[in-house]
């Protein structure tokens, strides 16, 4: 199984070559940092004050993750999962995949691993882009010092891991939907509806029941210090949802009558 999974991942990784996924990952990672970087040009005179603030990195981190956690990351995940999963539908290749000597579990897991690697890469690239959005203005403008204090890489990476776990339910549910519906729009439309629901119910007591909401909840609790009554930490609930959706998705996939 491990060998089949390794081969499957290796093969899946090649399939995404020249697809939109790399551009999507990089574009999503750089979008908010690019806007923050460009916004520095509007208030050049204020930059020394901003960069001299001892809480510079924390402020930038909170600013950057606001749109990312609530909007861009869920959207990027929906698009990436649908693109990767439906490579087979677009190219009429499911029948060939299922006629290869690999267990169905390896086929399923290999795609999921590639998606998770891409989402992980997106979050890491986003962190790198945040760093660049901070240091580039300092490199460009002579009157701007480098940011006050060192880049808190260890703390930010820990938060990256938390956000990664928070979005796992979106990954697994979108994966289930993309395997179930063979059109590009249906899983995307369902995902969008779920995402809108998660935003709309952010003030609701039971918002944690919406599986697309955990990154937003986590952001509000940790970065905004907003207290929320939850049955467990967002990452724990998210991990549980991921497990349930992944197993359910596999059962539905494996039991499909027609695998061509």
């Amino acid at each position: 199984m491990v060998l089949a999974l390794g081969r499957g991942v290796w093969s899946e990784w090649l399939k995404r070559r020249r697809s939109l996924t790399t551009a999507l990952v990089l574009g999503s990672a750089c979008f908010v940092p690019a806007i923050i970087f460009l916004s520095r040009f509007r208030r050049i005179d204020a930059l020394p004050g901003i960069y001299g603030n001892p809480r510079f990195w924390d402020t930038l981190w909170v600013q950057s993750w606001e749109s990312m956690a609530l909007m861009i990351l869920p959207m990027a995940i929906m698009l990436t999962v649908t693109l990767i999963t439906q490579i087979e539908d677009t190219n009429n290749a499911w029948k060939q995949v299922h006629a290869t000597p690999q267990p169905l579990s390896a086929v399923y897991a290999a795609k999921l691993v590639v998606i998770l690697v891409l989402i992980g890469a997106l979050i890491l690239a986003f962190t790198a882009a945040i760093y660049l959005s901070a240091v580039l203005p300092a490199a460009i403008f002579a009157h701007v010092e480098t940011p006050a204090g060192p880049f808190p890489i260890a703390r930010f990476l820990r938060r990256d891991v938390a956000f990664f776990i928070d979005v796992l339910p979106i990954v697994s549910l979108q994966f289930l939907l993309a395997l179930r519906f063979r059109t590009f729009l249906t899983p995307l439309a369902i995902g969008m509806a779920m995402w809108i629901l998660s935003i709309g119910t952010m003030g609701w007591t039971y918002k944690y029941l919406i599986p697309y909401s955990y990154a937003g909840i986590d952001y509000l609790i940790v970065e905004y210090k907003r207290p929320m009554a939850l049955p467990a930490m967002p990452a724990v609930i998210a991990a549980g949802c991921f497990l349930v959706f992944t197993v359910t998705g596999y059962v539905l996939y494996a039991r499909r009558e027609d695998k061509s």
């Binding site: 290796w10 093969s11 090649l14 070559r17 677009t90 060939q96 000597p101 009558e257 061509s260």
Partner: protein, 301 residues
């Protein structure tokens, strides 16, 4: 030993039965032509053989092993191409093959070898989406050949190929069968296209197997349906003469139709017709081609 053997294979899509008690028998080392009109059940059968459809009733044994219990082991020895080509459009021919090579785990040298054998060695960096249908079909066959399988299952592999391409593929399949002993199950709805390739034939229509056996037994049917036609100035009198000679016969479409006459019988008949003052316009032997036999088999409802 049979490479493929099905027993009472039956399949329904909803209420509609698409296969009914199909007992397919593909001998080891054969080139088996699986014939039938569109919608006859060919592709459904092939998908069941590859485990792409869940078996509902009946049994499937490949290389003597039950498919469901030893699916992976069996698929390791099968190369297949079902319906339209499964090609990743954004990848080159080499990259497409690399996708499958990584899963199967065969040596990288197989990629140039199979591309050469299907005539796609010079496609370079051209992406597969820019290929013609014929080129995609060739690439699909290259994928099937990649791991040197002992059984090839090909669904209408000549679709989209020009006459030269069909000839090249036929030569390739014959060579694989001759040199490596590869068993080939090839489906088609056109008998003439695979007539010169196959050693065995199965004819399916409306989900039931109408004929199965060596191509020679189909040819025997062809011989049995050959007849002699005599066009004369007085067919009624000509029929009387033929019957007096013990040749039987009937009048149909303005001609006297007799069983296929031997050379001396034809001589005696023409002499007798002349002696009875019956003008002879034409005596001909009418051979029923295999295509007609095929249509008779599938139109026998």
């Amino acid at each position: 030993m049979a490479a493929i053997e099905t027993e009472s294979l039956t399949h329904h899509f909803g209420e509609q039965a698409v296969l009914r008690d199909v007992n397919l028998l593909v001998p080891d080392g054969a080139i088996y032509g699986f014939l039938g009109p569109n919608g006859a059940g060919k592709t459904t059968t092939l998908k069941l053989l590859l485990g792409l459809l869940r078996r509902q009733r009946g049994a499937i044994r490949i290389f003597g092993k039950p498919l469901e219990r030893e699916r992976q082991e069996i698929l390791r020895r099968i190369g297949s191409s079902i319906e339209s080509p499964s090609i990743y459009g954004q990848l080159t021919a080499v990259e497409n093959l690399e996708v499958w090579r990584r899963i199967i785990g065969c040596p990288r040298v197989r990629i140039p070898a199979v591309l050469e054998s299907v005539g796609l060695a010079d496609t370079g960096r051209k992406r597969a989406r820019q290929f013609s249908l014929g080129m995609k079909q060739r690439l699909s066959i290259a994928v099937a050949l990649l791991h040197e399988p002992s059984l090839l299952i090909l669904d209408e592999p000549t679709n989209g190929l020009d006459p030269q391409g069909i000839l090249e593929m036929r030569t390739l399949f014959e060579r694989l069968n001759r040199e490596r002993g590869t068993t080939i199950l090839v489906s088609s709805h056109i008998l003439s296209e695979i007539e010169r390739l196959v050693t065995h034939v199965g004819v399916i229509h409306r989900g039931t197997l109408r004929f199965q056996g060596p191509l020679d037994s189909l040819r025997e049917r062809q011989h049995a349906s050959t007849y002699t036609a005599v066009d004369t100035g007085d067919n009624t009198r000509a029929l009387e003469v033929a019957r007096q000679l013990g040749l039987g016969g009937r009048i149909e479409n303005g001609r006297v139709l007799l069983r296929a006459l031997a050379r001396d019988e034809a001589g005696r008949l023409t002499a007798a017709l002349s002696a009875n003052a019956v003008t002879i316009y034409e005596v001909s032997t009418v051979r029923t081609d295999l295509e007609r036999i095929f249509f008779e088999l599938v139109g026998a409802d």
